[in-house]
Every structure is written in structure tokens, then in C-alpha cells.
């Protein structure tokens, strides 16, 4: 009996050395491949579906706090360390890789309002409702040692926000005024006031390190230069901003989380109009943090969801929520840009993936290539209706879903009314105000 075997000559497909170019086993002539678009479309569709199948962003929940988590701080040198402060004045240090609490300390009486790790990673500062600023060692005290702060500064008023300079031993607090402190002194080296009585947050520009921004309760955002004696500029919006975060890669952009459900990205040189209005939340936005790559940011809202926005997109690309997660108060994007950490009202800290469908860990080269390819395919066909429909579909809690709908109806009604008014009034009497301009009341010099 004859056995028929297909035999290929290895000379046709094996390189002689690995320095040679790859032998091509097929003809790339495009006339021979008339269905390439259709085939790639199918692949893109499959990739999109698979992405939705594998989208499992929730990684872990860190529980242990006995009150709502009020603030989070990333360690500046260690990826696996996270600090959290709760409403009962307790600060916990977490090991993220083990997902366990490694240290607990009673830092303040009342809320821990703010927390920041020094740039060297050896100590951290906390502020609380007890009008104190405390500096703590990052190391756990040894056996028998007492948990005591390195320094304590007693302030005159309650502090509400805290941030540390990127390179120098200087930090800023806010409360009734914005204070710049030297680590070595017990009184501020500079105080900024501008006719308002309370500030909610302050943050240093990570790139242009002497600049600061703060959000005040008179609905304004104020910019400062640490070296100047007076503030720089102030923009007053229709509603109060809660927090502000600078883009770590683009020196003059910052985003603020506003009470009017939106986030606004500003160019600090042109405060008259925000660059982008990021809409999608259905309740006040409480916190915002940029990805360390500066490409995206994440926002935490009172509507119990977390949303991820590309820096220049008006709508979010992702929404995270869990049944048990209540109002999200603080949020951080991890320093390797892979994870998101959220602290919420119901005493838990949650760890999320920044890319919901991404495979974690080291990828094999072929795996990585396949992932890159499917990503590009998704981008290429993103405008095709079926693919867009699948890629954009997200499950939302009923309340949020309905509230979104309601808001849309309201917005449409308002627009319709405006159009009608414009239609029935003298031309030019009712000017068209763009969405960006709507939210800025004035810029104060």
C-alpha cells in the first residue's frame, strides 16, 4: 500500500540564519485577496465581542476601615503600597499585592481630610479635622515603639486639603486660606487669600512644580505660583468644583471635578473657556485623578460609579460600578497606569483594572502581537455600527440608567426651549452659547 504524504521542502520556508528576512510563504499581491476588508471586519467583530466577554475589571476589595474612606494616597516609590484615611481618623497602610493591611494608626480625631506621601517615600503627611498637620514615618514602628508622628503642627483652622511639592521639602494645605509650608517650620512660609473663606482642595503641578491650583467654595478655581506673593488668576464657574488634578505629562492642563455632574479640562493659560467638558456622571463628581501617562483620567462620583475618560473626549470610555459600592469619595490611578483604586462610603477600598479586558501579567510575544492586532482592528472598525454598538454597551444600575435618561430629556427640553425662544425673538437677541462657555461665570484677574 502506498502512503501519500504531503511533504514541503523546508528550504521554501525556513530561513538560513535568523538574520535573514522571513521567507514569505504566500503571495501578498492585493489582487489575489479580494475579501481582505470583509475578513478583517469579521475579525474585528470577534475581537470586540471577546473584549466584552473578558471585561472583568474588578480585582479586589480591601476592607478593614471602620468608617467611610475619605482619602487615599499613592506611595511615591513603591507600587504595592497604598495609604488610606477614613472618617474616624484612622490611617491604614495596605500591601496591594497581598491585599492586606500592614499597618493601622489613629492619626487624627475626626476625619482624616488629606494625606500625601513625601516624594522620597520615607514619610507621609496627614491632616485632619483636629486642626493638625502630622508627619509620619513610612516604616512601621518596631516592637515596643509607640506609634507617634515625627512632627505635629497645630493650625488655627481646620485643614481640608493637602499636597506635597514634587521635589522640595515644601507642602501646601488649604482651609480658610492656602498655606505653603516648609517642612522644617511650624508656621507657613506663605499664605494666599483672595476674598473667600474656604477651600476644598489644593494640588501642586507635577511638571511645573511651583504652580498650584485650588478649588474654593465660592465656585472658583484659583491658581497660584509658590514664588509669588499673590495668587495668579481665578475662574468662577456656575457650580463648585470639588477637586482638581493636573496632567502629569502636559504642564498646563488640569481637570476639575465639579458639582454639576461634569468634569472640566482647562488650559491654565486660557481660563475663559474649558478645553473639554466631560459629561456622563449623573451626580456630583467628587474626585479625579490622572493616569501617570497623562492620556486618561478617572473620576469618582456621588452616583456610585467610577468613570474613565480619555483626556480629550467629552464622554467616558468606561464605567465601573458594583452593587455594594456606595458613593465613591476618593480615587487614584496607580503609578504604573495599570490599576485604579477607589475608596468609598461603605468603608471599602476597591482595586480595578484600568483596562477592563486586558490580560494581566507578562504576555508571550505572540499573545502580545495578537492583542495589539485586535486592538488596532477594533480601532479601525470602530465606526461601524455593529462594532460600535457592542464596544459601547455597558450594563448600568437601573437608577443610573434612568437618571441618565431623565437628564437627557431635561437637557433636550432646555435646548428645545432655547431654540424656540431664539426663533421667536429678534435675530441676535438670544445668542448661541456653546456648552463650554455655559459653565464659566467669569474670570477674575
Amino acid at each position: 500500500m502506498k502512503v501519500k504524504v504531503l511533504s514541503r521542502n523546508p528550504d521554501d520556508y525556513v530561513r538560513e540564519t535568523k538574520l535573514d528576512i522571513q521567507r514569505v510563504p504566500r503571495n501578498y499581491d492585493p489582487t489575489l485577496h479580494p475579501f481582505e476588508v470583509a475578513r478583517e471586519y469579521t475579525r474585528a467583530l470577534n475581537a470586540t465581542k471577546l473584549e466584552r466577554v473578558f471585561a472583568k475589571p474588578f480585582l479586589a476589595s480591601l476592607d478593614g476601615h471602620r468608617d467611610g474612606v475619605n482619602c487615599l494616597a499613592k506611595h511615591t516609590r513603591s507600587l504595592s503600597t497604598l495609604l488610606s484615611g477614613s472618617c474616624d481618623g484612622e490611617v491604614k497602610v495596605w500591601n496591594l499585592s497581598k491585599r492586606e493591611c500592614v499597618r493601622t494608626l489613629q492619626a487624627h480625631e475626626g476625619f482624616v481630610r488629606g494625606m500625601v506621601v513625601r516624594f522620597c517615600g520615607t514619610s507621609f503627611f496627614t491632616i485632619g479635622d483636629d486642626k493638625t498637620i502630622k508627619q509620619w514615618k513610612m516604616e512601621t514602628p518596631g516592637y515596643g515603639e509607640e506609634e507617634e508622628p515625627l512632627h505635629t503642627i497645630l493650625g488655627k483652622t481646620v485643614f481640608t486639603g493637602l499636597d506635597h511639592h514634587q521635589k522640595e521639602g515644601v507642602f501646601a494645605t488649604c482651609g480658610q486660606q492656602v498655606d505653603i509650608w516648609d517642612e522644617q517650620r511650624s508656621s507657613p512660609i506663605r499664605s494666599f487669600t483672595w476674598g473667600v473663606d474656604s477651600f476644598s482642595s489644593v494640588s501642586f503641578n507635577p511638571v511645573e512644580t511651583d504652580l498650584l491650583g485650588s478649588c474654593a467654595s465660592d465656585r472658583s478655581i484659583v491658581l497660584y505660583d509658590m514664588r509669588e506673593s499673590a495668587p495668579l488668576k481665578k475662574v468662577i464657574m456656575t457650580m463648585r468644583s470639588n477637586t482638581l488634578c493636573w496632567n502629569p505629562m502636559e504642564a498646563y492642563y488640569f481637570t476639575c471635578a465639579n458639582e454639576d455632574y461634569n468634569l472640566y479640562t482647562y488650559d491654565m493659560r486660557y481660563l475663559e473657556k474649558p478645553l473639554v467638558v466631560h459629561m456622563d456622571h449623573v451626580s456630583a463628581v467628587l474626585d479625579v485623578d490622572y493616569s501617570p501617562t497623562g492620556q486618561e483620567f478617572v473620576s469618582a462620583s456621588f452616583d456610585k460609579t467610577i468613570r474613565i475618560f480619555p483626556k480629550d473626549a467629552g464622554h467616558s470610555r468606561e464605567v465601573y460600578h458594583t452593587k455594594r459600592m456606595q458613593h465613591v469619595i476618593c480615587i487614584k490611578w496607580s503609578a504604573d497606569s495599570k490599576y485604579i483604586l477607589s475608596g468609598s462610603d461603605e468603608m471599602n477600598i476597591r482595586l480595578w483594572k484600568a483596562n477592563a479586558a486586558e490580560k494581566l501579567g507578562v504576555l508571550a510575544p505572540r499573545e502580545r502581537e495578537a492583542a495589539n492586532y485586535s486592538q488596532k482592528l477594533k480601532e479601525k472598525f470602530q465606526n461601524h455600527p455593529q462594532i460600535r454598538r457592542i464596544a459601547r454597551h455597558r450594563h448600568l444600575p437601573k437608577s443610573i440608567y434612568h437618571q441618565t435618561k431623565e437628564l437627557r430629556v431635561m437637557k433636550d427640553a432646555r435646548r428645545r426651549k432655547e431654540m424656540n425662544v431664539r426663533k421667536h425673538s429678534k435675530p441676535g437677541a438670544v445668542p448661541v452659547v456653546s456648552e463650554k462657555e455655559k459653565h464659566v461665570v467669569t474670570v477674575v484677574k
Partner: protein, 756 residues
């Protein structure tokens, strides 16, 4: 607050100065205008008196001052203050004041302008803020180039300032280190006392000197030598290890023998160079020999040998093993012959006449022996075995004749060979270019023959004979193959019973012929086979030619043989085709397609609409038809449809109707960044996958926008980045503004990196 503000202070001072100046001018003109003044005062007094005299200034008492001013400036009147002019008066006169200042003072005195009021606090703060903001805005704008560059770049690699991975040079590590603890200090002192390198020069002075002593080339050569030596050593070691592991007895025996031979050779050498050493060796050997002789080893007297002896009767192997043992014994007990011992023996030989000469032991020439080597006749071959029986008895005179005979035989064989060769050549020529073949072949044969004759060695002859016989058989077979035309038909695969009936009856007998090597006759086979099959096939299967008006473009590709059995290549192809035909005999796809197409064509044809109503305007009823005139009148003729696009494409159906199921997958509006649909279409049409692109293109196309490294902290952008971007932009110039070199390098390096 005012005191804080230097600017305002300055302005105040200026004001005062201005006032003082005015006053002074008044004083100058006082004498002239005294009367006016007095009148004015009077007027003022009168006015104040009108008000009731309440504001009348009280007279002031003045006392002698405790301290008298060194400048001796006194106010003139009682109510007067010291004016600036009084102070300046002194400056005018004193020579200590430089003339420039004096001039400035005079200029000041001459100008009549009043100074504006200072700004309010709020106003001035605002100005300050504005200035500060302008400054900050300008300062921050220097990042613009970096930001735009990053936004435009095809790929961003994070973290930004990646240090090259791998071990750092020792110098770098060492320079950063400082002495801290007392222990370290002690070590440090010790090192410095012994002139050991501490900081920058990592090598000690001695090491440096040695480095300097050898040039680079020398060092390289030396290193190469060392490498080679090391490699060789490792090879030898590996070989030795391998050899030690070998368990084959035979191998070791051969090995030992070779070693012994080698040793003997060396020993001879040794005799010349180192007689003492050689003597010792000899003694050693002698000792070994003595031992062997004394022992019962290899004497076939052991247990094993006895057991073998029982088997030896029946078992060839056992016998041989025993023989070997004995041979070994003999070998070992033999006296070593060397030049050293030869000398002794020569002496011995001279004194020992009983010893027989060598030739005594030689084999007798005429002796019959089964071992040809013993006869010392090289020409005897195993192939001639039958003949050699006759030849052995023949006298030497006959030997020559026999040789001639052999030559004759060889000639005959060669003639046969030539004949066959000729035929083969002829066939080849026929294939290539019929004609002018025979002569050529003869000519070519000529020298070859001579050569063959020249090499008249017997072994070759035998070889030739073998070949010739093989060829003869082949030739016979091939001639048989050539003569029978139906043999080609043997390649036809029998698929149906009818095919089998068509085959010639002698097929079965010719089957062994297929084993013959020449392929030429078989190459002619396929056409006829195909023809035969084609004529057969026409009955049932569809003819593609009939269906398709256009010929399919045939791609001629030099195909590598896909099957190991080349002789059956064409057969296989046919096979495959046939198989498919057989498998899909039932479903006639092409006919179905044609039917479909015809149906669609008919459906698309415009139909004549007949609107005739029977019984309208004329009699109607059973058996009555509307008149032809009426029918003609009410028949609506539709304009003929446009020619179908697939009219000339028999294998294609082009439908111009909208397909609803497709539209769900199509883009309805032009997406954002594209400006026209052509742009968008071309973007979609460009394939990304490796099915359509080369490896490098795919790599480039699927490059992720953002690359990050696993488990590394991405620090915010720093000033260095600004400087580096500037430098790279200046350095790279026009090459590629969007991607710097080190970014590319990093992109290549980021192995474990992933998207975002």
C-alpha cells in the same frame, strides 16, 4: 499697608518734593509779591472771620529746641514747617554734591507736573496678579513643543527616562558610594594603606601596568588562543567521556589494538630518543607478558570457557569467542618486537642457526585455499568463484591466455554496455532534439572505452560486470516497455467499471515493468491517458469550457515536487481531480448557479402589463376573448431594462438591489476625523493583518499607541525631558520629528510592555 509698598512710598515722596518745590518758588518771589500775599492773608482772615472765628489758629509757643540740627535749618515763620527746598539749598552750595545730582535737582525744580495719586490696594494687587500670571503663562508655555510632539507621535513609551537595563559599569556604582560606618572606614583605611583602588581608578596600579603592557591586538590574539585551547580541551574531555561510556566489547577491542599499535610506534621513536625510558617500558611489557603466561587467563580453562566449549559444537558464536580468547592470549604472550629488541635478536639470530627463515612460513603458491588473501593473488575475485575452480589447477602458462579471455569477455560486456548507452542517449536525444544523435553518442563512447580499457583492474571489471548485468536487465525491460504502447495506459486510474473494461487485457502481465527506473516512456503516458479519460468524461460531467466563456488565467509556477514519489506525480493530480469529481458527482454546482442566474435575469426583466378588461366595450362571456385590437391597446409596454452588468460574466451574479441585512454593518455617516469618504474608504481598505502584509509592516501597523513597562512607576515629566526633546529635535532635524531615536530604542527594548 502703605508702608509695605515701596512703590507707593516712592510716589508719596515724589509728591512731597513737588510741593516743596512750589513752596520754595513762592519764597523766592515773596519779596516781590509780599503785598499780594498780605492782601490774600487779609482776605483769608476775613473769610475765616465770617465763619465765626472758630477755626482761628491758636498761637503756638515755641521753645528753644533741645537738639539743634547740625544743618541749622529753621523754619521761617511760626506756622511754617521745614521745607524740602531749605534742605536742598545746602546741597546747591556744597561742593561735595556731584554736578550730575545738582543738574537733576534743577531739572526737578523746573518741571511743573503734579504726580498722580497712588493706586488703591485692590487695584495694585490686581496689577501684581496680572503680572505674575503673565509670567507664569509664558513660563509654562515652554512645554508646548513637548506636548504637541507627544500628541503627534505614533507611539509613546513610558516611563520617560528609562535607564538602560543590565549591569552598570563598576565605576558608576562605586563613585556614588560614600564611607559611612566606622567599619567601612576601617576597611577604607586598609585599602588606602595597601594602595588598593577606592574610587575612580577601579584597577590597582599593578593591574593597570599589566594592562598597559599588552596592546589590544595582542590581548585579542591571546584571548583567541586561550579560547581555542579551552574549546579543544572541552572537546577532548567530551570525547573521552563519551568513549568511556561505550559498552561495546568490539569497539574497545579495536581501540585497544589501535592503542597498542600506536604505543609500538611511539616505542620505536622512544628507542631513538630516550633509550632508558624505552628499556623501562620494555621491561614493563615483559613483565606483563610474564604475568599473562603465568596466569590461566585467556587459556580457555575458566568456567565461562568450559561452558562455551560445550556449546562450541553447535554454536558458531561460541566457537568464535573461544578462538578470540586464544588469540588474545597469543597476542599477549608474544614477545615484543622492536628495534631495541631487534638488536638483541639479531645478535641472538646470529648465534641461533636453528631458526628458520621467513619464507618457510609463506603460503605455497599453488596451494588450494579458501582464503584468497593467503594465496597472495589479488586478481582472484569472488565473482569468478566458479571459474576459479577450473583455473586453480591450470598451469602458469595458461594464465596469460586466461587473462586475454577475460579481456575479451570484458570487451563483450563493454560492447553491450555501449550498445545500451547508445540506446539511452538516443532516447534522450529524441526527447531533446530528434536527429544527429548516433554519431554523437559513438564519439562520446570512444574515449570512455579507452579509459575503461586502461583501468584494467580486476575489481573494477567485476564491478562493471555487475553494472552491465543490471543494465542489461534494465534495457530488456525498457525495450519491452517501449514496444508495448498499452503500457502507458497503465497509468490510467480505474474509476468506473467502464474504465476497467477499456483497459487492454495484457495489462496484468506488464505490471512488473513499472518497477523499471527509466521514466522517459512513462512521461509520454499522461496525454493519452487524459485523452482517453476526457472522451469518457464528456458523457457525464460538466465541461467548464462550455460554461465559462472566458478561460481562467492559468498561473504557471515552478512547483517543487510535493510528493516523494515523482514517478506518480501526474497520476496523483489526476487522482485528486477524479476524487473530487467522484465526491461531488451528485451536486452540479455550476448548473445550479446558472439556473439561479437565469432566474434572476428573468425576474429583473421588465414585464408587459396587460390591462385589458374582458367584456368592457364588447361582448364578454365564456369562450369569448377580447379582441386583439383591444388587447394591443391596453397592453402597457415597459421600456427595456438596461443591460445587466453581469451580462458578459458567466460566473458572476451582480445584484443591484439593496440588501437590508448588509446595511446594518455599513457606516452611514462619515466619521469624525475624516474629511471625505474617499479618505475613510482607503483607511478601511488598508489591511492590517499578517495575511496581507509583511512581518515588518504588521509590526509597524499594529504598534500600540502607548507602551508602558510592567511594574514600573511612571514619574511625571521633568525638566530634563524638555532639554532632551529640544536636543533631539535639533539633532534629528528632518529625520522624523515625531519619534526620537531613543524612543525607538526603548520601544524595541520594552519586551514586557503592554498597551497603556
Amino acid at each position: 499697608m502703605e508702608s509695605e509698598d515701596p512703590e507707593m512710598e516712592r510716589e508719596d515722596a515724589e509728591n512731597e518734593r513737588e510741593d516743596a518745590e512750589n513752596e520754595r518758588e513762592d519764597a523766592e518771589n515773596e519779596r516781590e509779591d509780599e503785598e499780594d500775599e498780605r492782601r490774600r492773608l487779609k482776605l483769608v482772615e476775613a473769610i475765616t472771620a465770617l465763619r465765626g472765628g472758630r477755626k482761628k489758629p491758636l498761637g503756638e509757643r515755641s521753645e528753644a529746641a533741645v537738639r539743634v540740627s547740625e544743618f541749622a535749618v529753621t523754619a521761617e515763620g511760626e506756622r511754617q514747617k521745614v521745607q524740602l527746598s531749605d534742605l536742598i539749598e545746602g546741597a546747591q552750595q556744597s561742593p561735595a554734591v556731584p554736578t550730575q545730582t545738582r543738574k537733576q535737582l534743577q531739572n526737578l525744580r523746573r518741571s511743573q507736573k503734579t504726580v498722580e495719586q497712588p493706586l488703591s490696594r485692590q487695584e495694585s494687587e490686581r496689577v501684581q496678579r496680572d503680572l505674575a500670571f503673565q509670567k507664569a503663562a509664558v513660563h509654562v508655555s515652554r512645554w508646548k513643543s513637548v506636548v504637541t510632539q507627544n500628541r503627534r507621535s505614533e507611539q509613546l513609551v513610558f516611563p520617560l527616562n528609562q535607564e538602560p537595563s543590565g549591569p552598570k559599569p563598576l565605576e558608576k556604582v562605586v563613585t556614588g558610594w560614600r564611607v559611612q560606618t566606622p567599619l567601612e572606614q576601617e576597611v577604607f583605611n586598609l585599602l588606602s594603606a595597601n594602595k588598593q583602588p577606592i574610587h575612580n581608578p577601579v584597577l590597582s596600579p599593578a593591574e593597570e601596568a599589566s594592562l598597559r603592557a599588552m596592546s589590544l591586538e595582542e590581548a585579542q590574539i591571546r584571548r583567541a588562543e586561550l579560547q581555542k585551547a579551552r574549546a579543544l580541551q572541552s572537546y577532548y574531555e567530551a570525547k573521552a567521556r563519551r568513549e568511556r561510556k561505550i559498552k561495546s566489547k568490539k569497539y574497545h577491542r579495536v581501540q585497544n589494538k589501535a592503542r597498542r599499535k600506536e604505543f609500538l610506534k611511539q616505542f620505536d621513536q622512544m628507542v631513538k630518543t630516550d633509550p632508558n625510558g624505552a628499556l623501562e617500558e620494555l621491561n614493563k611489557m615483559e613483565l606483563a607478558r610474564m604475568k599473562e603466561r603465568m596466569s590461566l587467563k585467556h587459556q580457555n580453562s575458566g568456567k565461562w570457557a568450559r561452558s562455551k566449549a560445550i556449546m562450541a559444537k553447535y554454536d558458531e558464536g561460541a566457537r568464535r569467542a573461544m578462538q578470540q580468547q586464544l588469540e588474545l592470549n597469543k597476542d599477549l604472550t608474544q614477545k615484543v618486537r622492536s628495534s631495541l629488541s631487534n638488536q638483541e635478536e639479531q645478535e641472538d639470530g646470529a648465534s641461533d642457526p636453528e631458526l628458520l627463515p621467513d619464507f618457510v612460513n609463506d603460503a605455497e603458491p599453488g596451494q588450494v585455499s579458501s582464503n584468497p588473501w593467503m594465496r597472495g593473488e589479488l586478481s582472484a575475485e569472488p565473482a569468478d568463484a566458479q571459474r576459479s575452480e577450473q583455473e586453480v589447477a591450470a598451469p602458469a602458462a595458461e594464465k596469460e591466455q586466461h587473462e586475454e579471455e577475460e579481456e575479451k569477455e570484458a570487451d563483450e560486456e563493454q560492447a553491450l554496455l555501449r550498445d545500451f548507452e547508445g540506446r539511452r542517449k538516443l532516447r534522450q536525444k529524441e526527447e531533446e532534439a530528434p536527429g544527429q544523435d548516433v554519431e554523437d553518442s559513438d564519439e562520446e563512447e570512444g574515449p570512455a572505452d579507452q579509459d575503461q580499457e586502461e583501468e584494467g583492474l580486476s575489481e573494477f571489471r567485476s564491478l562493471f560486470r555487475g553494472v552491465a548485468e543490471g543494465l542489461k536487465e534494465a534495457a530488456a525491460a525498457s525495450t519491452a516497455g517501449c514496444s508495448s504502447a498499452p503500457l502507458e495506459g497503465g497509468l490510467i486510474r480505474i474509476r468506473t467499471v467502464e474504465d476497467a473494461e477499456l483497459l487492454p487485457p495484457e495489462d496484468v502481465e506488464l505490471l512488473p515493468c513499472s518497477e523499471s527506473p527509466p521514466s522517459a516512456p512513462q512521461e509520454e503516458a499522461p496525454p493519452t491517458g487524459q485523452k482517453a479519460r476526457g472522451s469518457k468524461k464528456r458523457k457525464r460531467n460538466i465541461e467548464l469550457k462550455e460554461v465559462l466563456t472566458k478561460d481562467a488565467k492559468t498561473v504557471t509556477v515552478p512547483l517543487a515536487p510535493t510528493l516523494t514519489d515523482t514517478a506518480d506525480g501526474s497520476d496523483e493530480e489526476l487522482d485528486q481531480r477524479g476524487l473530487i469529481m467522484e465526491a461531488f458527482a451528485g451536486d452540479d454546482v455550476i448548473a445550479d448557479f446558472l439556473r439561479d442566474k437565469r432566474k434572476q435575469e428573468d425576474a429583473a426583466k421588465p414585464k408587459v402589463v396587460d390591462l385589458t378588461l374582458p367584456g368592457w366595450g364588447e361582448w364578454g362571456g365564456q369562450g369569448l376573448k377580447p379582441s386583439s385590437r383591444k388587447r394591443r391597446r391596453f397592453r402597457v409596454k415597459v421600456a427595456p431594462a438596461e443591460p445587466r452588468k453581469d451580462q458578459r460574466l458567466p460566473g458572476v451574479i451582480i445584484s443591484e438591489q439593496r440588501n437590508g441585512s448588509l446595511s446594518a454593518h455599513q457606516v452611514s455617516a462619515l466619521p469624525f476625523p475624516y474629511e471625505n469618504h474617499a479618505q475613510f474608504e482607503s483607511a478601511v481598505r488598508t489591511p492590517l493583518g499578517r495575511t496581507w502584509n509583511t512581518e515588518r509592516t504588521v509590526k509597524k501597523l499594529t504598534m500600540p499607541k502607548v507602551l508602558t513597562q510592567l511594574g514600573t512607576i511612571i514619574q511625571p515629566m521633568t525638566e530634563e525631558e524638555l532639554a532632551r526633546k529640544k536636543a533631539s529635535a535639533a539633532g534629528a532635524g528632518k529625520e522624523d520629528p515625531h519619534k526620537t531615536k531613543d524612543q525607538k530604542r526603548r520601544a524595541r527594548k520594552g519586551r514586557h510592555s503592554q498597551k497603556i
